[in-house]
């Protein structure tokens, strides 16, 4: 979410803490993500049944899916009439995982960003590239939070945005 500050700047806000947790708090029985934005690794059967540890890299992947989502589905602040991923909204975890893998290895090459997000789409592609790399490796490397932050987020985002 965003707001306009008193000196007329747009400020980003992380919202919706009702499914978040603090380390000492109880976690309840609900799934705590929104399927279309969840990391591919958390949409597997093992993860749904609670056998996959939730890592920072999963949150980063979610942020990247949000970026991709907005670049391809919104134009000038409105939903585009011709937008991809509609089926992701209705899909279950298993189906959505397959759709995402398909997008990562095939779909992304032909994706058509909206004109108002053209440069943001280049950033999104830059972020998705190391994620795709990670999933194609066997065995999967262990990444530190710091490495993930640097290679998946900082490096692909233009410095004029980060300053």
């Amino acid at each position: 979410m965003v707001y306009k500050s008193r000196n007329n700047k747009w400020i980003g806000v992380l919202n919706d803490y009702d499914l978040s947790s603090t380390q000492d708090g109880p976690r309840g029985n609900e799934r705590t993500g929104t399927i279309p934005f969840m990391a591919i690794a958390l949409l597997t059967k093992d993860a749904i049944e609670g056998r996959v540890e939730h890592l920072y890299q999963h949150d980063v992947e979610s942020l990247i899916w949000v970026l991709i989502w907005v670049c391809l589905r919104y134009e000038d602040g409105e939903l585009r009439s011709n937008r991809p991923f509609n089926q992701w909204l209705k899909a279950d975890a298993d189906r959505c995982r397959k759709e995402k893998l398909d997008f990562m290895f095939m779909g992304r090459a032909d994706a058509q960003p909206s004109p108002s997000h053209k440069s943001n789409w280049e950033t999104a592609r830059g972020c998705l590239r190391p994620v795709g790399h990670y999933y194609s490796e066997d065995p999967k490397p262990t990444l530190t939070d710091d490495e993930v932050f640097q290679t998946w987020l900082t490096a692909p985002v233009p410095s004029r945005i980060r300053d």
């Binding site: 979410m1 919104y74 987020l153």
Partner: protein, 230 residues
């Protein structure tokens, strides 16, 4: 109702409770008593919340008694595009829409904010009671934000007020019926009022990417994650 056996089902936000069936032909008096009871049930007994029972129309108004603030007036603006709804019998059923309140506007204006909007929204939903409440989490996040004035403060939602409608707990009927472990999975109606925010999707170009990046920074290993908030 398979053949001549009648089952009574009770549904709420948690799940359904099925009562043992009885034969309404062989046990006609019991069936008559059931019908006569149902005939006399008022809205409240059918599950309508008495607080909201008379609040109707496009801008329903209610008053909630708060132990610190006294009576809190709330006028929900439900007839608008500017809302998020989840309908259905079961689950959290989160609904968010604009809200007007004299008492809460006063309260909000006592706290300085970078946000230039003075409008408010209400989030009404049925969270699981076992889960740490959103209000508690937000309080921890707010406390924590003070230590990160650049990266986190200003990038978290501003909670104006919250209220838990204790009397609506789905554990109550399960306790009364003597169901095992009545607290397990129980839900309760909850309201949180926030200073209004806009969807990030309303931005484009660099404005959008900057706002997105601010969220990236505030969730980075160097800030929110640091204090084990996920």
């Amino acid at each position: 109702m398979p053949d001549d056996i009648l089952y009574v089902w009770y549904f709420d936000r948690q799940d359904a409770i099925q009562c043992a069936g009885f034969n309404f032909i062989q046990d006609l008096p019991r069936f008559m008593v059931l019908l006569l009871i149902m005939q006399r049930m008022q809205n409240v007994q059918w599950g309508l919340n008495p607080l909201f029972a008379r609040a109707t129309g496009s801008a329903p108004q209610i008053h909630v008694e708060d132990k610190d603030l006294g009576s809190v007036d709330l006028k929900f603006i439900v007839d608008t595009e500017d809302r998020t709804t989840h309908y259905g019998l079961r689950g959290r059923a989160t609904n968010v829409f604009p809200v007007e309140s004299k008492r809460l506007s006063q309260l909000m204006q006592q706290h300085p904010s970078e946000n230039s909007s003075n409008e408010m929204v209400a989030k009404l939903y049925w969270p699981e009671e076992a889960r740490e409440s959103e209000a508690d989490i937000l309080r921890k996040v707010q406390e924590f934000a003070e230590d990160y004035p650049d990266d986190v403060k200003g990038h978290i939602p501003e909670m104006v007020w919250f209220h838990k409608f204790d009397e609506t707990s789905t554990a109550n009927i399960r306790k009364t019926l003597g169901i095992d472990d009545p607290e397990r999975g129980s839900r309760v109606l909850y309201i949180i009022v926030f200073r209004k925010l806009l969807p990030i999707t309303s931005l484009k170009g660099d404005d959008f990417l900057r706002a997105w990046w601010q969220v990236v920074v505030c969730t980075s290993p160097y800030s929110l994650r640091f204090s084990n908030i996920y």
